[in-house]
């Protein structure tokens, strides 16, 4: 489910417009506030949510990691170098706070130099796999990947990490 903007919080600065990879955050011509012009095309990357200096953008999340009706809010503090998440279930009781260092590379410092990457072989070109397909989702090197086959184990609750 897509992003939406709290109009009373937004000041129309345009950070979300700049950062949206789907190009669907725009500034409304009448109110001069941001809005999602094409909710169907929003893939919930949370880029705009994190970029908003006023925390004016929110997402109604799917039920993929918490039952529907939950609240997932994030605050990315660049100066402190951390990102904080808060996930609150709809019953109001399950309320999780997470805090982690920002691990992405500084803005503009990690531009892929694809000309230096070796060209794919003919076999790779003929393969149905994508270039640089992540190894955990590959099916061509044996059996299906599982937590066990990769030496991982399930931990209960987000706090477990």
């Amino acid at each position: 489910m897509p992003t939406f903007v709290y109009m009373t919080r937004c000041d129309g600065c345009g950070h979300c417009v700049d950062i949206c990879p789907s190009d669907i955050m725009h500034i409304d011509k009448v109110t001069r506030r941001a809005y999602n012009i094409e909710p169907n095309m929003c893939w919930e990357c949370y880029s705009c949510v994190k970029a908003c200096p006023h925390q004016a953008i929110d997402v109604r999340g799917y039920a993929d990691f918490a039952p529907l009706g939950h609240s997932v809010r994030v605050k990315r503090d660049e100066e402190k170098g951390v990102i904080a998440w808060r996930i609150k279930f709809r019953n109001g009781k399950k309320d999780m706070d997470l805090l982690a260092p920002i691990t992405t590379k500084p803005w503009g410092t990690s531009i892929p130099q694809l000309r230096d990457v070796p060209a794919p072989t003919q076999e790779q070109r003929n393969s149905e796999l994508l270039f640089n397909e992540p190894k955990y989702i590959r099916f061509d090197d044996g059996d299906l990947h599982t937590l066990e086959s990769n030496g991982l184990k399930m931990v209960e609750g987000v706090e477990g990490f």
Partner: protein
């Protein structure tokens, strides 16, 4: 020229009573427009519902003194200094426009109600002209350089964008024609033309509150006050806390912080805020 009271000249043609009636009519239009705007957008209802919801999530109750202190902070930061703007140039432009508007409107009212029949009006004519100049400076800066959707939506400076621009067009044409009217005082037809345009723009500005964004000057302070209250009472609209990374309790709870950032993490710089948004 700045010290000339233009309404003294005007009083020879239009009676002070008529001028005062016009000012009162404009005030009534603003009040009526704001009330209709609130009813239509249900903004007041939204605020109260939001406040009620936040009260449920509040971790503590704010006392009267604390609320008064928050109100003072809101006035000092958001209202008087437009601190809610993250963009510096937008904030400066807004301050010029806002203070220019307030000074212009107040000095207009003082000149019409107090000095319409007196040529010497003390500092007020100077304030009237300076207010208009400040309003023009901030307004034209906004119109030509800051209108946020110029690049992304392809709106050029000469495009009039309907409801979105009524407010700013009224805001810049009113002081422009007011100044031209004052400057051309005594030149006959041209002066009359500028006076008519001045009144027309003022009427558009104050009469279009329902359709324009004029009412923001009433609800923005309320929104800023509410935002501060939500932070103070701990409800925070479900946002995460502002952690102090040097706090041992925070470091114990989130061991990744001291492990990767040290026990006294440095300032990591502005990050995305370093570059102003340019829209593509």
């Amino acid at each position: 020229m700045l010290g000339t009271n233009p309404f003294f000249e005007l009083a020879t043609v239009i009676s002070p009573g008529l001028m005062q009636g016009y000012v009162i009519l404009m005030v009534l239009l603003v009040i009526g427009g704001t009330i209709l705007d609130m009813l239509h957008k249900k903004s007041a209802q939204y605020f109260f519902e939001n406040a009620k919801r936040a009260q449920k999530d509040a971790k503590r109750t704010l006392g009267g003194g604390e609320k008064a202190s928050i109100a003072m902070q809101t006035v000092a930061n958001e209202v008087l200094a437009s601190a809610e703007f993250k963009s510096t140039r937008r904030r400066i432009s807004h301050l010029f426009t806002m203070y220019g508007f307030v000074i212009f409107v107040v000095s207009t009212a003082v000149l019409i109600f107090g000095y319409a029949t007196e040529a010497a009006a003390g500092i007020w004519p100077v304030l009237w002209h300076l207010g208009a100049l400040s309003l023009c400076f901030g307004g034209y800066w906004f119109w030509f350089f800051i209108r946020v959707d110029v690049a992304s939506e392809g709106v050029k400076w000469y495009n009039f964008n309907g409801r979105g621009d009524i407010f700013i067009v009224g805001l810049i044409t009113m002081p422009t024609f007011a100044l031209l009217w004052s400057v051309t005082m005594g030149t006959g037809a041209l002066n009359t033309l500028f006076f008519v345009l001045f009144i027309a723009s003022a009427t558009v500005l104050f009469g279009s509150v329902f359709w324009s964004k004029f009412a923001h000057m009433f609800f923005k302070p309320a929104a800023a006050y509410q935002k501060r209250c939500l932070k103070a009472d701990g409800s925070r609209e479900n946002l995460p806390d502002d952690y102090d990374l040097t706090d041992p309790a925070v470091q114990a709870r989130y061991p990744d912080i001291p492990e990767y950032m040290g026990t006294n993490p440095p300032d990591m710089g502005l990050g995305i805020g370093r570059e102003p948004p340019r829209h593509y």
